[in-house]
């Protein structure tokens, strides 16, 4: 799965029914469930072992070798990791990815929340809510091609508009200063409708009585937003943040199709660099080592944010 899949984990509250649904008197079936369960879980367990668990172990193993797909792999210990820390392109990839994540996440969250508030305030119908989601349904590859055309320095519509209003035209994807920001904003554009729907669903769960109380107190819209909506949305905000962040680190398709990491190294994000090392230069060991480091980074981020999520949940409710 590429970035921005819908792998959203709901708050822990949803697990509660399971415990309640377990009356003590029903233990007698315990013995008979085992074989059935094994049968039902067989495909998933095989899939997990073959395509998740084993590859992870194998990946760590490969990262300790100099394997190039052609010759026999040779054990090199932690050499790949040592090289990694000396590799300016690796640090560049981390920096570029960080710029991407920060620009993408901040604009995506801000625009998503804005759209959600507009949808709520104006009681928007289904058609508009669907329309705003459209780019999210389109493959990244197609988005990259369409935006390449829209942002083309010569025939792109956006530059026509810039020219029309008397501004200087820009070579968005083709300028090393603008390229990574362009990639980030293109993905913001693609995902903001999806983010908005998550926020919108969150806003729907806020009880109307809270708003009535605020209105009775004579609170203005902005005041209500700041003191009621925003605090009550904190768990959702944290959740959307975690999900978007994990997806954001995995930026690949847009870069692969629109810029190939260029111009120069200005859009060589970590995912793309791993891909190039492993599948273009066949330096599997080095690619695997970078993947391990990326996993460690994402894992740490997720843990920190999930902890923050849990903290906000308790004081949000």
């Amino acid at each position: 799965m590429t970035n921005t899949t819908v792998t959203v984990r709901p708050p822990d509250a949803r697990r509660a029914p399971e415990r309640r649904d377990r009356p003590p008197g029903r233990r007698r079936r315990r013995s008979s469930d085992g074989p059935t369960a094994a049968l039902y879980l067989l495909p998933a367990v095989v899939g997990f072992v073959v395509f998740y668990a084993w590859p992870m172990i194998r990946g760590v193993g490969i990262s300790l070798t100099d394997w190039n797909l052609l010759t026999e792999a040779r054990w090199v210990g932690l050499d790949n990791y040592a090289d990694l820390f000396q590799d300016p392109l690796f640090w560049n990839a981390l920096r570029v990815t960080a710029v991407y994540v920060v620009v993408n996440i901040t604009t995506q969250m801000a625009l998503g929340l804005t759209i959600a508030l507009l949808m709520q305030r104006l009681s928007i119908g289904l058609a508009a809510r669907s329309a705003i989601l459209l780019p999210w349904l389109i493959p990244n590859v197609t988005i990259a091609i369409v935006t390449l055309f829209m942002l083309d320095p010569n025939v792109g519509f956006v530059n026509h508009v810039l020219e029309f209003v008397g501004a200087r035209t820009q070579s968005f994807y083709g300028s090393s200063d603008l390229a990574i920001v362009t990639v980030a904003l293109v993905n913001t554009w693609r995902n903001m409708g999806y983010t908005a729907l998550l926020f919108y669903a969150g806003i729907q769960t806020i009880s109307p009585s809270v708003y009535e109380a605020a209105a009775l107190d004579g609170a203005s819209y902005l005041r209500t937003f700041r003191s009621v909506t925003l605090p009550l949305l904190r768990p959702i905000t944290a959740l959307v943040l975690v999900v978007s962040m994990i997806g954001s680190f995995q930026i690949f398709d847009t870069v692969a199709v629109a810029t190939s990491g260029g111009p120069g190294n200005s859009t060589r994000v970590i995912y793309y660099y791993i891909y190039q090392k492993a599948f273009e230069q066949f330096d599997m060991g080095y690619g695997a080592a970078m993947a391990v480091v990326l996993f460690a980074i994402i894992f740490t981020f997720s843990l920190v944010q999930l902890r923050a999520l849990r903290a906000t949940e308790s004081d949000g409710n």
């Binding site: 797909l69 329309a131 493959p139 695997a288 990326l294």
Partner: protein, 310 residues
């Protein structure tokens, strides 16, 4: 589902204002929303416009949404229906790009992946929500942790595995990693199964029905809504896959539309790209999703809210 929230939830603040006289701030909100909607939808309209425009007319600088001289040549070019001469005259490379084949590959890929994912995930979700066995919660937690593995981490060893099996450039290699195990799908369905009252099922079990019968005759029909929702979400995800299909499915016989469109873009001369052809190819990707959105709009919009919040 979040859709069941009464409309009063979002109308309260707005309704206080008289409908007839929109306040300046309401007008401002409408303006902002309309601008955002235009920004969201316009590129696709422009894409369609260009797809119906001959390459020679793109440089005319016209900003009208209606093509100056509408033509379907770009579509017949990318679908391999035009003669090489026609294609070359329209600004293409002259070679046939058989997108019909890739479109079919993509539809088969998406269909197979979604069917297996929903089926196998339903089995696993039922086991996790209803059956009792040692280590259930541990296994479930481990499965969930699978969601945190960045795909590229698994892609490397999986590629090696496919290579050893000789499955590169085969349909089996293309679909294998997606079929059996999808942490999100299992998690998603388990949540719904947990919400189904046990009483109905208990009665059936007492009447001597087997577990599989209970699952297929009682649980699945009751969860048909969520199952359809999951299928749509997974279909969108499968349709979007690029990294893996372009690694193991480069051969034209198993090439997916996504890979073909990207290859087509990369082989287009950078000095004078075949924009009309590219936009026609891109339209082939957009139109199926547009149809999906028109037919299942409510389901998609509501379910996304659900998957994120509840």
């Amino acid at each position: 589902m979040s859709s069941s929230t009464p409309p009063a939830a979002h109308g309260t603040l707005v309704r206080r204002r008289p409908r007839r006289r929109p306040t300046p701030s309401t007008a401002l909100s409408w303006t902002a929303l309309i601008v955002l909607l235009v920004i969201t939808v316009f590129p696709f309209l422009w894409m369609l416009r260009t797809a119906f425009t001959a390459n020679s007319d793109i440089f005319s600088g016209s900003m009208s949404l209606v093509p100056p001289d509408p033509t379907a040549i770009n579509f017949s070019r990318v679908l391999g229906l035009a003669t090489p001469e026609e294609a070359a005259a329209a600004g293409g490379s002259g070679q046939n790009v058989d997108f019909f084949l890739y479109l079919r590959n993509s539809l088969v890929f998406t269909g197979v992946v979604v069917t297996c994912q929903v089926g196998f995930s339903a089995l696993a979700a039922y086991a996790f929500s209803r059956l009792r066995f040692t280590g259930r919660d541990v296994i479930f937690t481990v499965f969930l942790a699978g969601m945190m593995v960045p795909p590229i981490f698994a892609v490397l060893p999986n590629f090696v595995l496919m290579r050893n099996l000789g499955w590169i450039d085969t349909f089996a290699g293309l679909v294998a990693p997606y079929l059996l195990m999808t942490p999100f799908a299992i998690f998603f369905l388990r949540q719904f199964f947990l919400g189904i009252p046990r009483e109905i099922e208990e009665a059936a079990l007492l009447d001597g029905a087997g577990r599989f019968r209970v699952l297929t005759r009682i649980i699945l029909p009751m969860a048909s809504g969520p199952m359809a929702t999951l299928a749509i979400i997974q279909a969108v995800t499968a349709w979007n896959e690029y990294l893996w299909p372009q690694l193991v499915g480069r051969d034209p016989s198993v090439r997916l539309l996504n890979v073909a469109v990207a290859t087509f873009a990369q082989s287009s001369p950078s000095t004078s790209p075949d924009w009309s052809g590219l936009m026609a190819a891109a339209s082939l990707q957009v139109v199926p999703m547009l149809l999906l959105l028109i037919v299942f709009g409510r389901k998609i919009v509501d379910s996304l809210g659900f998957s994120g919040v509840k």
